[in-house]
């Protein structure tokens, strides 16, 4: 280390005596974040405070936790939350499929660009378009069942969205179809950026397809997989409204078979004229979403060697 460099280094070391504190202030990243932060706080912070206030009031009067009690004990809300929880089971399926597709695309020599576009395309389609198309396609006498019947597969021709025992599963499958492209591209991008030496060495040592990816590729994709899983968990908890609304005409039917918490909030606020109950339900949803978002930030901070730092 040169003398000048040493001086510079020493200058950057915090003065433990505290004498330097008054002379030089380091605000870190805050001056850069502040303008945007103020904007976000103004737009969303105000709304959150207003939402919280509404959740404790009825027509302007303070009612304590009454609204929360009414919402939590509402069988329809319980059903909605249960369905959101069931939708969380699609997350491991999504992750597994995205991983599989990403690895297959990675291994594909010819036509990778075409396959990549094909996998990613559903993610680009607007949800209302997807909802309307699948709503038609999956009618009992729709195109899918007509195709199945023509192949002699009558027993597989179900009332996909009209049967209350089937509707949520169908909805999940559509969400998986739509969302898997995002994960595939995300994982593939990380996969391409990985150093190839380890994979080549494993190949020379005779590792097969499964062993190579199981032991070498997947451990290196941990951070991006976690990011995708948390992102999709947030989707399942608080971003499935569009699918349900479009495919069930805002009913969450048949019966309450596809009722989810967002639809419950929407209906409370705009159909049932109960904004205070909607606010209480939204606060509960906010808290449950926070749980996942905190997890997301933790993953992000730990991803030292992950996609975020590269």
């Amino acid at each position: 280390m040169t003398s000048a460099a040493t001086t510079a280094y020493l200058a950057s070391v915090p003065d433990s005596s505290g004498a330097a504190r008054g002379r030089r202030r380091d605000f870190g990243p805050w001056p850069w974040i502040l303008p945007a932060g103020i904007g976000i706080l103004f737009i969303f912070g105000y709304s959150v405070v207003d939402l919280l206030q509404q959740s404790f009031k009825y027509r302007g009067d303070w009612v304590g936790f009454d609204n929360f009690q009414l919402v939590v004990t509402d069988p329809l809300f319980q059903t909605a939350i249960f369905h959101n929880a069931l939708l969380l089971f699609t997350v491991p399926i999504l992750v597994a499929l995205a991983l599989l597709f990403a690895i297959l695309l990675f291994e594909t020599r010819r036509g990778m660009r075409f396959y990549r576009s094909a996998v990613f395309l559903p993610y680009l389609l607007p949800i209302p378009v997807v909802g309307v198309v699948f709503g038609q396609l999956l009618q009992l006498n729709g195109a899918l069942n007509a195709g199945l019947k023509s192949l002699g597969l009558q027993s597989f021709a179900l009332d996909w969205l009209g049967d209350p025992n089937q509707a949520l599963v169908t909805m999940s499958a559509i969400i998986i179809w739509k969302e898997v492209g995002f994960g595939t591209i995300l994982i593939l991008a990380r996969l391409i950026s990985l150093p190839t030496e380890l994979l080549e060495a494993a190949q020379i040592d005779g590792a097969g397809f499964f062993k190579k990816h199981l032991k070498i590729t997947i451990p290196q994709l941990r951070s991006v997989i976690l990011f995708y899983a948390i992102n999709e968990a947030i989707v399942m908890v608080s971003w499935v409204f569009n699918y349900v609304y479009v495919m069930t005409n805002g009913q969450g039917g048949p019966g309450n078979a596809t009722m989810v918490s967002e639809l419950y909030i929407y209906r409370s606020a705009f159909q049932n004229q109960a904004p205070e109950l909607a606010a209480a339900a939204a606060v509960l949803l906010l808290i449950s979403t926070l749980f996942f978002i905190v997890g997301f930030f933790k993953v992000q901070s730990r991803a030292q060697s992950g996609i975020f730092d590269e």
Binding site: L41, F44, P254, G255, Y266, Q273, T289
Partner: protein, 443 residues
Amino acid sequence: MKRRGIAGAIICASAILISSLTSTGAIAASKAAFPTGPVKLVMWWWGEQEAPGAKIWLADTIKAYKVKHPNVTIQTVLQTTDGLIPAFAAAAAAKKGPDLQYFWGGIYAQQPGWDGQIAAVSDYIPAQELAHYINANTEEAFQGKIWTAPWYVNPSFPVVARKDVFSKYGLTVPTTWSALLKSCDVLSAKGVTTLAGGIKDGWFGGWLYSMIGSQSVTSSKDVISAVLGTQKFTDPIHAAWWTRLQETQKHHCWNADINSLELYQAQQLWVSGKAAMTVVAGPDTPNFVAKVGASKVVVMPMPKWGTGPFAGKLGTTSQTIGITKWSKYPQVAADFLMFSHERAQLDNWFAKTGSMPADDRFNIAGVADPVKKALFTKVLSGGPYLENFIPAQLDTDAVFANAQLVLKGTRTGAQAAANMQSVMERLRKTDRNLLKNFTAWAK
């Protein structure tokens, strides 16, 4: 990092979840002289779906009004069926939106009045004028006021039956419940649908409730009593219709895909001859009859099963227009509503839509078409349209949902009635003004 993570999480979660939930309030309407300066009114409406031609009539009427009052401009926005109520709820929350708003009758017009979102039209339209508006006093009245002005009558709801389809299988059009179920047995065995319907969007559940359920009640007061808790939705007069509905499912009366079709989609099965009967919107009935040919069609109420005063009768309701509380020109809005009830506009409504304007000054005797004439005459002595006398949330949460399940065969009639009762009991707790408002309405 932990603190930053949580702060970031709060911001992100807010971005995801914040909807425009704002508090509601009322703006006092002011009565003033008819303005002479430029006036712009916005009207949100629905109805072209059930009364094709309404759009042309509205354009004609606005044009004619512009001739009378050149300073008044009226802009119209056609709403979707699913969006009609939520769009207005959002507008009301923001106290911004239309000056004139379309409402279905009964509870759909009462609730915005109770919530202070609309001004009573009776504050601006003289009583002697309102007395001519059909169903204003039966559905729109509340504590001496009339909330909204009926626009056109909705006979609710006619069953249209194809004589040609029935006769092809050696049957006649069923007018009783037992005959209907027998027809269902015969036709389903031949692979023909007896009744075509679509309930995916839920609305048809409300229609069926009113058509089948009205046969056992003695008046709309029975329904309000069940809402208030002095009667129960599990009492035979309120619950029996669910059993009748279940019977139609058991006898394979409906198209198998009823749960995956929307209301208006399913009616096309009848037009194409794949179904013997269907239920259509009252104002649209003449159009459906014309598509098949009047000689082949019978227009009738739901086959009779009950012994109540409304068994074998059509229901009657009027679709209405209200004036919003935040409108700057309520007196102009009211003047336009009265203008729309002038003779020339009433006749033009009939000419453009073939349906009946909600005004007893309309000359039914002058209607040449026998189908329309019969329909209009029946509707003047029609029964209450039950769906309009229950809370809208009970309709969606209990009637729509249970009708879907009963017609799918996954819930019995008794279970559906019990569920409806439990939803109602819960609603009395969650809607803290419900008892007060319904009690006042019942008077």
